[in-house]
């Protein structure tokens, strides 16, 4: 037990957990006392979803070392599966928390299945094939969902592809092709978002510190050396990739159930790149970096509304500055000196 707490790796992990819990408590209290503006209040759940997205992509890019450009595709599967499941189960499970959980599990499962379908052929190859295939995958998912119609009435589920060719007497459309899902009951709460982040962190940290995690990282660092000691390349790559996909699916469900309406177009290439930006800015393989980057960069455009027309220009400048600042040796040294001096003064 003592070893468990003293190992350096673990200590930083505990700090991340503590940071997330602290942030949750602070925002929950602020929200409860009405100190949060409507803008921030409305962003709480989406920020949680983007944080989980960034964490899950960091598993693929940072830990597994493969580039995925279609992570929004998995989010999309999770979002639509979750939204349809939650609406279909409205009568069966009146408790919204439980319904959210079931929807999330369904979203994660289907995203994992998609992850296996994409991963099995592609992860056997060397090179940047995964980037190309996931890029196409995101677009395929968008097309499929745009052409999918699902309705539910007293006689059961109706489903059609390409054209809407069923009529209903009562009930409602769960997914209406290009019109997406409308009239979503917002059952995602800040608490559920926080819990999902915690679960994601537990899964990722435990995976990284396990035998499988070490095998995955060995593959990232040197594939030939890892193969030479008998590590099964496809198995471990697939493991990392599918876990990442299913977490993205759960994030998608969380996101969808916090919105009034969702459309397949929302989860396009741009969203994939946005999440990749979170990961790269936060640092590859650094989970706390992903959390901070995702939260900051999601909220930032809203905080910059003061600049009106120049908002996105300022956003871009801030991005460049962050990149320069985090990679500048002089600045790094400067910060290090400040913290050192502060420490010295305390003593």
């Amino acid at each position: 037990m003592k070893k468990f707490f003293t190992s350096k790796m673990k200590k930083s992990n505990w700090l991340v957990y503590a940071g997330v819990i602290l942030a949750f408590v602070v925002f929950q209290v602020m929200s409860g006392t009405g100190a949060l503006s409507s803008t921030m209040e409305g962003q709480l759940v989406p920020v949680c979803a983007y944080v989980v997205m960034a964490l899950s992509l960091n598993l693929t890019v940072g830990v597994l070392g493969e580039l995925s450009l279609g992570h929004a595709g998995f989010m999309s599967i999770g979002a639509f599966t979750g939204a349809v499941t939650a609406a279909a189960l409205e009568g069966a499970i009146p408790n919204s928390g439980l319904r959210l959980l079931v929807a999330m599990i369904m979203g994660a499962l289907l995203a994992a299945v998609a992850g296996v379908l994409v991963g099995v052929p592609v992860l056997r190859l060397r090179g940047d094939y995964l980037a190309i295939v996931t890029l196409a995958f995101g677009e395929i998912i968008k097309s499929i969902i745009t052409n999918l119609y699902i309705g539910m009435d007293s006689t059961g589920l109706h489903c059609s592809f390409l054209n809407l060719n069923f009529t209903m007497q009562d009930g409602k459309m769960l997914l209406n092709g290009p019109m997406g899902v409308t009239g979503i009951e917002k059952i995602s709460t800040f608490l559920s978002g926080f819990l999902l982040i915690m679960v994601t962190l537990v899964i990722i940290f435990n995976l990284v510190n396990s035998r499988s995690g070490r095998a995955i990282m060995a593959l990232r660092d040197n594939r030939i050396a890892a193969e030479s000691v008998g590590i099964n390349v496809t198995k471990y790559k697939l493991m990392g990739f599918v876990i990442s996909a299913s977490l993205a699916g759960a994030a998608g469900t969380l996101f969808a159930l916090s919105q009034n309406t969702i459309m397949a177009n929302k989860f396009d290439f741009n969203t994939s790149i946005l999440v990749l930006v979170f990961v790269v800015l936060g640092g590859l393989g650094r989970m706390w970096g992903s959390i901070i980057a995702a939260a900051t960069l999601t909220v930032l455009p809203e905080l910059l509304r003061e600049f009106s027309d120049y908002r996105m220009l300022v956003y871009a400048i801030v991005l460049i500055l962050i990149m320069l600042a985090t990679n500048n040796p002089t600045l790094k040294g400067w910060f290090a000196r400040i913290f050192k001096r502060k420490g010295a003064e305390k003593e």
Binding site: S37, S38, T39, E41, G42, Q43, P46, E139, S143, T146, N147, G151, D153, L164, F166, T167, M168, Q169, D170, G171, K172, M173, N176, G177, P178, M179, G180, T182, G183, Q259, N260, T261, I262, M263, A264, N265, K266, P301, E302, R305, E306, S308, D309, R311, M312, W334, I338, R341, K342
Partner: protein, 403 residues
């Protein structure tokens, strides 16, 4: 040590600056605050900016009369429902009292739900789908997807009624024997019109010979769709879409020597003023639109002149709808009389909820009619949809002519 002090100074200044922003919301109002969301940046910015500009013109005009004062603010939603809700929330932080809705349809579906929860009066110039209003049965499935939101009203035609009106018009005027349709099947606006058009066309016995689609990713080349219409021998092509796609379709048709009649809807309005568009291509194109920038009436002429003077371009239908929205609200408030205190000042601190009840009552009153740029004697009922007559227009010599 000096550096450390500098940093502390900087941080203090930053915190103080933030405190300034925080203090802004406290003073009492000196105008009724109108807010709206629209795509001011990104691919759909042309619509958002048109609405923003026109609403500003209307507010300036009303304020110049010296009576009740309005203040209008548009927040950018980049045509994304998620961002639209953020934009709406930031308007709520600004203490918006009346919402001019969202400019585009999908964001409108999201913000109208929020406005319904907050009970803020919501009059959208151009978010046209049935689900923005709610309570309208989908023409295809026959079920209601979204409950009616009692505080939401539209200034534009609702998509299904446009499709229906187009089919009726084509049928009654005997415009075509064989009809081809090209529509954008990943867009709510285009699909909504197409669905109701198809149903009505079948009911009226119109012969649809070709139906082709395009999406966001394939909206630059229309050779396949136009060739399909030509091969099917269609003599009328129905284009329920925005004008930038229609422009490409007209060009493609000319290139392959195909000259059917083209029939558009209100999204077609603006094609004549599009940059780099050869207006001879649009010769003979018919469209149903509520607004005509070339109209000869005083009001339209004055508005177009003012818009052109301030923004250097001819206003489109979105701008006209937004202009009408502000004036309709102005009229519903009895030109300000409804908010007048006994001492002649106006009650600008009225809550959004009180205003909402007042405006719902005014808009649904049986004797409330509004005449603006986009129609004469418009009325609203409790279902939120506007009732006004679409004008059939045909383009001749680069200008609209009534049919």
């Amino acid at each position: 040590m000096k550096k450390f002090a500098k940093i502390v100074c900087l941080l203090t200044v930053l915190v103080m600056a933030l405190c300034c922003f925080a203090g802004c919301g406290e003073k009492t109002n000196d105008a009724i605050k109108l807010g709206g969301t629209g795509p001011l940046t990104g691919g759909a910015a042309i619509y958002g900016n048109a609405v923003n500009n026109a609403a500003k013109i209307a507010v300036e005009e009303i304020n110049a009369l010296g009576g009740i004062q309005f203040e209008v603010k548009y927040e950018d939603d980049t045509h994304d429902p998620e961002k639209a809700v953020n934009a709406y929330n930031s308007l709520m932080d600004w203490n918006m009292q009346i919402c001019l809705g969202s400019v585009t349809t999908k964001p409108g579906e999201a913000t109208s739900v929020e406005a319904n929860e907050d009970h803020i009066f919501y009059l959208t110039p151009s978010a046209s789908s049935a689900n923005v209003l709610g309570g309208v049965a989908d023409p295809l499935t026959g079920v209601v997807d979204v409950e009616r939101k009692d505080n939401v009203f539209q200034m534009c035609f609702m998509d299904p009624s446009q499709g229906k009106a187009s089919a009726e018009y084509i049928s009654s005027q005997k415009l075509g024997e064989k009809i081809a349709i090209i529509y954008k099947n990943d867009e709510v606006y285009s699909t909504g019109i197409y669905n109701s058009f198809k149903l009505e066309a079948e009911a009226l016995g119109l012969n649809i010979v070709s139906t082709t689609t395009f999406t966001d990713d394939t909206d630059t080349d229309f050779s396949v769709q136009v060739a399909a219409a030509k091969d099917a021998g269609a003599d009328l092509v129905f284009l329920p879409m925005y004008y930038e796609y229609a422009a490409l379709i007209l060009k493609e048709a000319k290139d392959i020597g195909y000259a059917p009649k083209f029939f558009g809807v209100d999204g077609m309005d603006g094609i004549l003023t599009m940059d780099g568009f050869d207006t001879s291509l649009a010769e003979g194109v018919m469209l149903l639109t509520p607004f005509n920038a070339d109209a000869e009436d005083e009001r339209t002429k004055a508005f177009v002149a003012k818009y052109q003077e301030e923004y250097g371009e001819i206003p489109n239908q979105f701008a006209a709808d937004a202009y009408d929205c502000v004036y309709a609200i102005y009229q519903a408030l009895d030109e300000g009389e409804a908010l007048k205190n006994e001492d002649g000042t106006y009650n600008y601190d009225i809550t959004a909820t009180e205003l909402c009840d007042m405006l719902i009552e005014a808009f649904t009153a049986s004797d409330f009619t509004f005449s603006g740029l986009t129609g004469e004697n418009m009325t609203w009922t409790a279902d939120g949809a506007v009732s006004k007559t679409p004008k059939g227009m045909v383009i001749q010599n680069g200008a609209y002519v009534g049919m």
